[in-house]
Amino acid sequence: MAKSNNPSVSSKVQLGEVVVLRLDGLDSLVARLTALGFETKGPVVRDGAVVPGPITGVADLPVGVHDEQAPGSYRLTRGDDGRLFDWAVGPGSWKAEFFPPSQEVWRAVKVGDSMQFTESAPLAPLAIVGARPCETAALDVLDRVLKDGAHRDPVYADRREGAFVAVVECATPASTCFCSSMGTGPGIEGGFDLALTEIDDARGHRFVVRAGSDAGVEVLSVLAHEEALDEDLEARGRVLDQAAARMGRQLQTEGLASLLARNVEHPRWADVAERCLSCANCTLVCPTCFCSDVRDTSDLDGTLERRRVWSSCFDLEHSYLHGGAVRTSASSRYRQWMTHKLSTWWDQFDTSGCVGCGRCIAWCPVGIDITEEAAFIAASDGATPANAVSKASAP
C-alpha cells in the first residue's frame, strides 16, 4: 500500500520547499490571489482554443481539454479525464497582458492654445495561474527588451513587477513544440512565484508545488497543502521525462546564430517567400516579438491621442523610411524576422529570441515551420542563388 501524504495543513512553507496541493487547494489559490487584489487570469477555452482569460476557480480552466497541433492547424479535443493542463500553448500568449495590442501613451484635450493631459486609471495587478515554462521564459526575454535594458518601458515594467505568476509545467507538448531544444521547458527551475506539476496517478489527482519567491511562499503558506513525499517527486520526474520524449520538433541551436548570419543570400529565403503570406501572424502570436508603432490621432472635439500599437516586421510600412519601404520583398521580411529571432537577438540582448513554443508554426496559415527552415539552411550552408541548384536541393 502506498504511503499517503500527511493530512492537509496550512503552515509556513519555505522558499524552494515542495508541497502537494489537491484540486480544492488550487481553487483556494485562485480565490486567495483574487482576495489579495489581483486580477486573476488563466487558460480558458474560447472559440475552440486555449487562450488567456479571467478565472475564478478550477471550473474555469480547460477541464479534460487536449489539443492536436500541426503546421497551420490547431484543434481541441475533449476527454473525460478531468485533467486541467493537458494541452500545449494556444494562440494567445501572456505577452498581451504586459504589452497590449493597443495602449494609450497619452491623451489630451486642446483648450485654446494649450493642451490638458489626462492620465488613464491604473490597472489592478495581474496574477496568472497556469502559464507554461516557455511562456515565463518568453517574459524573461521581453524583460531584457522592455524592462531591464537601456530603455525601460514604465507601463510594461510596472505591470510585470507587480504580477504574480504560477507556472504549470508541461506534461503534453504538441507536435509543434521544441522547448527542449531551447532550454525553456518542459520543466522550470526558476523565475516563478509558484511552479506546479499536475499529476494524476494511483495516488490521486494533485499538484506538486514549489514556491520560488517570497510572494509565492506567502500565498502557499495559507493554502491547505500536504507535505510532498518521494513518490510525488518521482511522479513529477516521470511527467517531465515523458514530456521531453513527446517533444514534436527540435531546433539545432549550436552554431545557429552564425549559420544564419553567414547565409543571408541563401536561396531558401526566396523559397519561403513563395509560401509566406506576409500576414504577420507569426510575429503576433510570438511571445517575444515586441515591435510596435506609435499612432497619433486627432478628433473634431479637440481630443488628441497617442497610442502604441503592435506592429510587425512583415508590414510593408514597418520598414518605411523617407521615400519608401526598405524591405519590399517577402523574402527580406521573413529573413529579417527569422535571423533576428535566432541570430541577431543574441547580439542585441544576449539571448535567443525564440523559446520554442511553436506558435509561429501552428498559427501560420500556410504552416511555415521555423525549425524546418533552419534545418534546411543548415544542411545547405553557404548556398547562394548562383550555386543554388547544386547545394540548396541537397537535403
Partner: protein, 279 residues
C-alpha cells in the same frame, strides 16, 4: 444655391457618385455623433444624397464613389478631378472596379443582355475600371462599404494637415489585436484575411465567419499561396473563384488567382459564364 456668406472660410467638401450603390457615401451620414461637428469644420458643398442645395466648385476635397462604366462618366470624372484640390476615392468600386467589374471577365454585353430588355439603349464601356485608371487620385479608401471610422480619419487628417493613419496590412493583424482565434487554423474556414487589407476591424472573423475580402488585397497579398492552402483544406476551385470575385474582382492580386483557378471559364473566349446569375 447656398446661402453661406462669402466670409465662410471652411474648406469645401463635395461627394460624387459614379457606378455604385451609394452605400459608401451614406457612410458619411452614418457618422451620426460626429456629423454636426464635421459639418462645422467643413462646408458640405455638393452632396446630393444629403441636400439638393449645391455650391459650385472648385472644391477643397472631393469624395468619389463608384467605378467608371460609361463613356459619359469617363469624361465627368475628369471634370471632378479638375475642380478638386484633393480627390479621395471611397469604396471598392472606386478603388478596384467593384462587383460590376465581373463584366470584365465576360463576353462584352453579356450581362447587359441578361438584365435589360433593350440593352441597345445603353451606352456602356466594356469594362468597369477604378477611378485611378482615369485620373490621378490622392487617396483611396477601401471596403464594401468603407469603414466610417476610416472616412472620418481621412477627413480629420485633411483638416489637421497630417497623414491619415490607415494601414495597408492584412486583416490578420486586426484579428490578433482583438484576440480572435484564427478561423483558418483552428477551423479550416476559408478565409481571405491573410491577403485582405485591414480596416474593418476584422468584423466577420469576430463572429465566426471567414473574411470575404471586401477591403480588397493587402499591400503584400500572396494570393497564390493562400489559394493553394485553401484548396488543400477542401475549398473547391468554384468556391475559391467566388470568394475572390466578389467585391474586388478586378483587383490584380485577386483577379490573377481567380483566372488561374478557372482559366477556361474566365477567358474572354465567347463562352457564357456558368455563374448562377446567368442561368
Amino acid at each position: 444655391m447656398s446661402s453661406s456668406s462669402s466670409a465662410d472660410v471652411r474648406p469645401t467638401l463635395a461627394v460624387w457618385k459614379f457606378a455604385s450603390c451609394d452605400g459608401c457615401q451614406l457612410s458619411l451620414l452614418d457618422c451620426e455623433s460626429e456629423l454636426l461637428a464635421l459639418a462645422g469644420a467643413v462646408r458640405i458643398a455638393h452632396f446630393t444624397e444629403m441636400s439638393r442645395a449645391t455650391v459650385d466648385g472648385p472644391y477643397d476635397i472631393s469624395l468619389v464613389e463608384g467605378s467608371i462604366t460609361t463613356p459619359d462618366d469617363a469624361e465627368r470624372i475628369k471634370e471632378v478631378r479638375s475642380s478638386s484640390r484633393y480627390l479621395v476615392t471611397i469604396g471598392a468600386c472606386a478603388a478596384t472596379g467593384g462587383v460590376q467589374a465581373l463584366r470584365n471577365f465576360a463576353e462584352p454585353g453579356s450581362y447587359a443582355r441578361i438584365v435589360y430588355a433593350h440593352p441597345e439603349y445603353l451606352q456602356t464601356l466594356e469594362t468597369s475600371t477604378p477611378i485611378s485608371a482615369h485620373v490621378p487620385v490622392d487617396y483611396e479608401l477601401h471596403g464594401c462599404p468603407i469603414d466610417r471610422g476610416q472616412l472620418l480619419e481621412v477627413l480629420l487628417a485633411f483638416l489637421a494637415g497630417r497623414r491619415p493613419v490607415i494601414a495597408g496590412h492584412s486583416v490578420c493583424q486586426e484579428c490578433k489585436a482583438r484576440a480572435t482565434v484564427c478561423l483558418l487554423v483552428a477551423n479550416a474556414t476559408a478565409c481571405l484575411g491573410p491577403v485582405t487589407r485591414a480596416g474593418c476591424g476584422a468584423l466577420c472573423p469576430s463572429i465566426g465567419r471567414g473574411c470575404f475580402g471586401c477591403f480588397g488585397p493587402s499591400d503584400s497579398a500572396n494570393t497564390p499561396s493562400l489559394a493553394a492552402r485553401l484548396r488543400s483544406l477542401g475549398t473547391s476551385d468554384d468556391d475559391l473563384v467566388r470568394l475572390l470575385q466578389t467585391f474586388n474582382a478586378a483587383a490584380p492580386a485577386f483577379r490573377d488567382e481567380a483566372i488561374h483557378s478557372t482559366p477556361v471559364r474566365l477567358a474572354r473566349s465567347g463562352g457564357q459564364s456558368k455563374s448562377g446569375v446567368e442561368q
